[in-house]
Amino acid sequence: MSEGRWHRPDGDAPLPGSGRRAVPGLDDLLSAVARGDERAYDAVYDLTSGWVLGVARKVIRDPSLAEEVMQEVLLDVWRLASRFDPSKGSGQSWVMTLAHRRAVDRVRSERSHATRELRAARADIDYDDVTEAVEASLEAERVQRCLSSLTRLQRECVNMAYYGGYTYAEVAELLGVPSGTVKTRMRDGLIRLRDCLGVP
């Protein structure tokens, strides 16, 4: 079996492009992973680890915690692959849902508990070879452009929720806006984003 069968991007991390088109085969790969196919998992790692680490970094900020969350998510992908159903959404959305939820759970527990000393205890883990390279500048530009088409309040609500890990009630408090307004702006903002990105 050649590795090309799994659309491996030259053994390198992925260059996510425009949504589903950019990740041909991810859905099939996940189905293969569900059957315990280790080679497929290898390819899924190449395709998704950059996204997962990226979102974990954006939400959690602390690089070592983000890396931990990335490992948990990638293990979830292995363990839970049988839960993925391509008829209900793309593999990209499935993986990112797992990733974002874990990242948000982590940042909330970090916020609510004083765990600084524990983090200090882990400081001896070696992170000096972290590569900061942001991949997909085209995709980042496209998303940024679409975000700027939102109203300011929609954008603030979406950003604070997705990247900040805040609940809509917390966003309402921070912005001094009624929580009902925040809820509808989050929904309207995502709808506009969806239309702008041309999500399938």
Binding site: G50, A81, A136
Partner: protein, 249 residues
């Protein structure tokens, strides 16, 4: 049920997709989704858009990670498709969705360890050891049981099943590095008020350790593992090899 309630839930779709809800709201909205096909479609579409907020910030992981994660995955049992009655994307309540995962995966892991112990004792003493204790079963069968796995930095995987209700957790591990005779693995509860020793971890075979029952756990505690002198320590004398928790999901 009431239309006001439905309307209220309806507008939650955006916040739900952005994970900007509390655990309770997440559960209620997920339950609502099972009755509302339109909402499921909307959530699926909005999720595709939200995913792009994340993928736009892709970062290349450092090279060493891949091998480690793939090794961990190969040592982790997968959820079989047969049990997948609640689909992730269908979003039956998170707890309802996680339960079968916990029960099957944790039970499988504990069974694997128990078999190891059983074989070990059978080897040593020519008799069968008790497989599973009441306290281990109490945690695994608790309705709020949450399973977390994490790689141990010196090698192997740790699995912690936590029940907040029972204030207990079960710790098991496999593939741990063998220690010199004078050293042992010690488990810790690590919370805002410092670390408390939570017992020594017995390694029965090279490959399997535990189950160790951890009691007196609070929702703020994480479970840690360190290497200590064989007699045990009152405070960790080395950096944690793994930290798991808190079990409040």
């Amino acid at each position: 049920m009431t239309t006001a309630d439905d309307h209220d839930l309806h507008t939650l779709a955006g916040a739900y997709v952005l994970d900007a809800v509390t655990e309770e709201e997440r559960r209620r909205f997920a339950a609502h989704l099972t009755d509302c096909a339109g909402c499921r479609d909307e959530v699926a579409e909005l999720r595709e858009a939200a995913a792009r907020l994340g993928t736009a910030h892709a970062v290349r992981p450092r090279p060493g990670l891949k091998e480690r994660i793939i090794r961990s995955a190969h040592n982790t049992s997968q959820l079989g498709p047969v049990i997948a009655e609640h689909d992730l994307q269908q979003d039956a309540s998170r707890r309802a969705r996680r339960r079968p995962v916990i029960l099957t995966a944790a039970a499988a892991a504990v069974a694997a360890v128990a078999i190891g112990i059983g074989t070990h004792y059978a080897d040593m003493q020519g008799q069968h050891a008790q497989v599973g204790t009441p306290r281990v079963d109490a945690v695994l069968n608790a309705p709020d049981a949450v399973m977390r796995t994490a790689p141990v930095s010196s090698g192997g995987m740790a699995i912690v099943v936590t029940s907040r209700r029972e204030h207990m957790a079960v710790f098991i591990a496999h593939g741990l590095r063998a220690l010199p005779q004078a050293m042992r693995y010690e488990i810790w509860l690590m919370g805002p008020r410092g670390e408390r020793p939570a017992g020594m971890l017995s390694v029965h075979r090279k490959d399997m350790a535990g189950p160790a029952v951890i009691t007196g756990m609070t929702s703020h505690d994480m479970v840690g593992l360190t290497v200590e002198p064989a007699s045990g320590s009152l405070h960790p004398t080395s950096a944690p090899l793994v930290m798991i928790g808190p079990g409040q999901q």
